[in-house]
Symmetry: C2
Subunit: 207 residues, 2 copies
DNA sequence: TCCTGTGAACAACTTCACAGCG
DNA sequence: CGCTGTGAAGTTGTTCACAGGA
């Protein structure tokens, strides 16, 4: 079962994790494909297919052990150990991220970066703010694995390249980056405008 | 030609728009499927297929008129006129959105909402902050069509239902909403944790 | 019995390849 | 000739339906 995994499957894995976090609160120990399916509004066979890409976690006639399943999914997503993250841009979005309980999801922001003098050397929510000029050095020293880019668009490419030079193996950006990057690494976007536009389309379609 | 449109096509339409905004700066008037394809790192035939779902915009042997194409895509996405938006939650994410040039994309935040007394009645970036208790009334009065939810998770369902009761036809949420909603409307999420998790998976896969 | 895991059928999406028009 | 628009082929993703184990 070691075929290529659909990206959609990976996204659903994150939803399964949200479901597990939710169900764990109730004290349950076993869960069935149907439970995950209902939570995510998809079919139960799709849940089983998704999980089967990675092995056989379940018990026939019973279901899945919640704690085992959680461990497995975290392993698959690479968040079985905490990943160290550097954050560029301490504006509103940056601050929101610093206040966000990312650690619970397996990520820890270990350093923040900005170019505004009044911020450099301050700690925000326990995270030190460095100057963007020191980004390569700090990324290397602290061995940061991922970068989050929350700077204005015109600064995004430069910041991305610095992160990569500092050793970042993947980037999440709120700003469109005019590629090409110095080195090809996984790059994802959070596109607020795009989401609003798609929502707008869906609204029009309804009518 | 009026088949079901893939969601992926709609998302790419938003990318085409970003490309058009970018190319317009250069003063060009004509663009070809290959230009859009290169910008978006996809194949040119996919660009043509995407556009062909909605009619024949191009000129054979020449390409697409940039201004016509922009008009068409905006029409398809329902942003040929500005859509009025209400924003719940004036924390860091909410403030980031208030500072974001959404108007350029066809959206205008006409009212913000929070429950913190010190914010109510203030204007932030020209947008009045109301109490969440007045959300239904304000949504109706101002005829807000869309809602953005940037409140803590435990408040999200309540806020969503109020927006819908106030007449919102679609919602964009930063917090997971435990459905069901009072009434089914298009609902999209921006899931920062999920994006980080997927990125983490992609990083592991590379290795 | 009940629920998982999975071949096989089906559906959705993308690419190919070229007809057809400017 | 060059580029669009589109059937047809190819590929990828989802659902069906059931064998098989607990």
């Amino acid at each position: 079962m070691r075929k290529r995994i659909p990206e959609a499957t990976i996204r659903r894995l994150t939803h399964y994790l949200r479901c597990i976090e939710f169900i764990k609160e109730t004290g349950a120990e076993i869960l069935q494909s149907r439970d995950l399916a209902t939570f995510c509004s998809i079919s139960d066979s799709l849940v089983r297919r998704d999980l089967s890409y990675f092995g056989e976690f379940g018990t026939k006639g019973v279901g899945y052990s919640i704690s085992e399943l959680e461990k497995h999914i975290k392993k698959i997503l690479g968040i079985d150990r905490t990943k160290k993250v550097g954050l560029a841009g301490v504006g509103n979005i940056g601050r929101a991220l610093l206040n966000f309980p990312l650690l619970k999801n397996g990520f820890s922001i270990e350093a923040a970066f900005d170019i505004r003098d009044e911020l450099i050397g301050k700690k925000i929510n326990g995270v030190m703010v460095y100057h963007e000029n020191d980004m390569i050095k700090v990324f290397k020293e602290k061995q940061l694995e991922m970068g989050i880019i929350a700077v204005p668009q015109q600064a995004a490419l430069d910041v991305a390249n610095k992160m990569i030079e500092g050793g970042a193996k993947g980037l999440l950006s709120f700003a469109l980056i005019q590629c090409p990057l110095k080195k090809k690494v996984p790059l994802r976007y959070i596109e607020i405008a795009a989401e609003l536009e798609i929502l707008s389309y869906e609204i029009e379609k309804e009518e």
